[in-house]
Symmetry: D2
Subunit: 343 residues, 4 copies
């Protein structure tokens, strides 16, 4: 194969997602990590992330455009919202390819961005070119994209779980409710009273009820699949676990459809996908079974009396919900085997 | 006051609910525990429950009707389903009052019992006399009951959360979904592979999806409040915590109702209730805040675009969801202050 | 009864210890909480501690000496180190009795304070009058004390575990090692990267190895009991639990002593103590069995080949290790029954 | 290199260690897993271990010697104690190489085996040939061994932590205490009341105090290193985590040695070892930092006043403490790169 080694950089390596990208790339046979940076931190990676001692000699620097552009072919932006607006444009202009793990290029409409992220969109030009990095739905476009917008963790599980239903039974769907539960790593590493051990351990609560910024992302892509507006009610909760998302999704139908028929549809829909596992009827997805993996597990049930399909799906929010999916996108963009370093 | 001391017995003290009843009664100023038994265990309570060492000198015996009837005025049955059918009738006949924490006397219809518990109902006579022990709704009937059927843990949170809506907005409710999450103590103390530390810790999953035996209990009492059939979709999950239930309840309305209006309704409805706390708008219930208490916390939100009311409510499944509610019922039955030993 | 109600105040009610004192006093039949304050917080207690909603209408104010002195007979200081130096003297002068939960009055020697707390002692006058509030050893002095210095959490478990050995086998002890493990609530409620859920959950580590400020407190009181200098090696660890301390204590002997003999000594030594439980030989103390209680459980073992006594003891660090012991001290100071509100 | 693919079998794949071996081998470039078996289970691996769905098509059979011998070059025995006595001899005779993860071939003396495992040793012949699979100390012998006895989890951390001290400061060591803490996976997957979530979560306790069967294993190898009898006091505890061991080791010296000197010794001793990390002075080992890895982290401290060296070391009990070390041994035995599939 004419595979040559890719030089990759990670901006935001001090966060959980950035670190997870680094971990995956360190074992990737066709990637060399040539640049890592973090906003407020300088020094050896092993001082930042002691679990990587003896694994890498990389130094972490404050971000510098010239160094990043010079040393890398492709950059992962694992940065807070609004930061990518500044970083992405010059890198793209210099010919680098960019995978942005933030929310900055996920919503097509700058007005939606304003409404849900509370600040104006600042890079409408690249927004038009950005490809949504959900390989199972947009693999072909990802291949040639210069800017891939890596999906949010909740939307990844939600859209993958709903795509077959929404695509095939479009007219029969009356209502969608997504009751989502996430481990704490989804909130990132920043200091917060709500994320102290004493506030999470032996506790459970909802947050941002029907107000989470992932709502419009889910609605936008379900609408695109359905080719008509699709709304959802989305309620996230915080679990006393570190990694993992489980979403319990209630799809109210206006028609009778049998569970085996739905199950067969899902199996067909994802037949060739390496990272989607449709569980046998009767089995239930568990976060533990996808921990540390790039899998999305999907289980199906039906409350026949109410014509209510109940989908439960799980991902590791740091892998399929962030870094793993980003590396999967990179593999596609670079023409590598899609599973490289992910299995 | 003419309060005299009640002699109480606990059958099934080796389980979590039975032990919790014992803990509450040990600090109750108007109750003497005169009898405790457990199916397979004999010996000192402190051998069974080491945390109670130096707290009580009670001995636990295999159940013996004569001793129970002779030494007690009132008996708590903290036994597995179907056991109460055998134990309750003779005790009632002997003039004792009985609080049954099992599911045996909760469903009015023996056919429902058969359908959901998988075995025939064996005491239809007492079933007719049993009073459902949810004080906030049935306090007057509880006062004079000889047989109180203590509610299930999930139904307690569900019915308390829905009663005001269902009572007042009966015609406007199109659909109810209850997404419930429980700590492991709800499953009792019995040995089970699914309840090993390695299967619960850093894990999350649904179980008995739309098939849990608490479903008809919830539907029966919502229907009674609404005075018309009310169905729900009920999906329980198991949390990596020991104590606590949180239920996220989605009520789809056919009419526009404002959130402040709903909030005001709930505050009025439960105004004089000592154990119901309607949280201020914006606040969210957390299991930690009811841990070890008899409170039920209820928080309210609205997805206005979808006319979807989102109620989150929490209880401690071993207290308001079992032993605490049982003691509250006892206090009512005996004419004691309702909060005795519960605050 | 000639018991009259005591008016008690709590300074530092926004911390875990202060809140725990409040919880205990709210159910105390002979105490009225007349004053609560916290450094940076004003407002209703229920805004500070939502789990206390509907339990109290107390308001929390910034500390004001005049109000505290006017409304209280006795004050609990649940404040950071060095704060008591400023607060205690005027209160004592005004005739109030003070129970200080900080480390400020525990070490007899200002030089030791300087060495281990890193700052000079600022109230040597009251230091001389302060009584160490470990009731099992100093009950008589506590009774008449105006200033009680409530023991540290680690020292409470350590000194209670070692007192019988040190008192009776003084000459036979060659060396003492204390390997201590604590839940996170011991670190208080302050924001800290090391106490985030992601740093504690599914993790375990030692900290301040042989450098913890509780070391001289343990040594001082063991030396007093032994009537000669006693040193220890003390290593604390942080457990992924919220409440509870377990200390594994290794006492190297220079003489053969049998385990039953040691066990009998411990039973005799603590025979009349309501809060000390000497476990039967073969049983092992568990933090869960003292959770939420004022008990100290002590279990004993012997490595005969090495003449090594191995003591494991447990307390709830927020109860016997802080608030519970403080209330026990208050009960003694006020001539109340010692167990009031603690069982 | 003339590396050819090895055909490997795993007996006991239904346990945590066996499954961990399988996970490591599935990503090993030079190994094909050709046989897996488990005592009581037949069927697809994905039914046994749902997290491996879509990762392997292996079938698990009840153990059959002929099939194992025919299809494998090397066998991992991840079986309970005493089982290897029956399985290993015929496999060795048939020319296969065997890595035994049980305790059957760890103790040189059958009398010790009898004393600590409670049953007679049944394969003294192979016991003499077995090589202890701790690569950092016995790499050369492992290379040519037919039967490798994989170390216990606790001994791995203990021996690696103590080897440099014991080797160099032999005469200066007066006493060794090992206070060990382990996650629950060390106890395996078998059903047990003590391992239920409710008994582990928010709990901590010691067990088998000074009576654990790993004690003689530690003493035997320390004695071999020291070339004189070395005893230890060993007390294990169970942590509310799934994976990870931390051992706090107290070495009492009869001479003054400086901490930097000890630190330099450890760095030299393990200079070329890929899986040993000597942490910088001041840093403390954490179980989280070795989770899922084959590393053993070692941190060093000194209580100068007591001449007490305090070593804290961590491993993942399922990796360096079991499966990872077994694969490391296999790599050495087969002449592969030692880190293959382990980094």
């Amino acid at each position: 194969m004419e595979n040559h080694i890719i030089r990759a950089g990670i901006v935001g390596v001090s966060g959980y997602s950035g670190c997870s990208v680094l971990e995956l790339l360190l074992r990737h046979p066709l990637v060399r990590v040539t640049y890592v940076s973090a906003n407020n931190t300088e020094g050896k990676i092993e001082d930042l992330w002691p679990h990587l001692r003896q694994r890498t000699r990389l130094h972490c620097h404050k971000y510098n455009y010239d160094e990043a552009a010079e040393h890398c072919d492709l950059i992962f932006l694992a940065v807070p919202h609004t930061t990518a607006f500044t970083l992405a444009p010059p890198l793209l202009k210099a010919g680098l390819r960019v995978i942005d793990l933030s929310g900055d290029y996920r919503l097509n409409s700058p007005a939606d961005y304003k409404a849900w992220y509370g600040t104006a969109h600042k890079d409408k030009m690249n927004l038009k070119k950005a490809v949504y990095g959900l390989p199972e739905l947009f693999r072909v476009a990802i291949r040639d994209a210069d800017l891939v917008s890596n999906p949010g963790c909740y939307p990844t599980a939600a859209i993958l779980s709903l795509a077959p239903m929404v695509a095939i039974y479009t007219k029969d769907i009356e209502q969608i409710i997504i009751d989502a539960k996430s481990g704490t790593s989804g909130a990132g590493k920043k200091l917060s009273p709500a994320m102290m051990f004493g506030e999470i351990h032996e506790n459970f609560r909802a947050y941002k009820v029907a107000q989470h910024q992932h709502t419009p992302e889910i609605e936008q892509f379900l609408s695109r699949i359905a080719d008509k507006p699709m709304g959802v009610t989305f309620v996230p909760h915080i679990l006393p676990i570190f990694r993992g998302i489980l979403e319990t999704i209630y799809v109210k139908l206006t028609a009778k459809i049998s569970l085996p028929e739905i199950h067969a549809l899902y199996q067909r829909f994802y037949k060739t996908e390496p990272f989607i596992r449709i569980l046998p009827l009767g089995a239930q997805a568990e976060t533990q079974q996808v921990r540390g993996t790039n899998f999305c597990d999907i289980s199906l049930a039906l409350n026949r009396a109410k014509d209510m399909v109940i989908i439960t799906s799980t991902i590791d929010n740091l892998v399929k919900g962030a870094a793993g999916q980003a590396v999967q996108n990179m593999n596609i963009m670079c023409g590598f085997e899609e599973e490289l370093s992910l299995i």
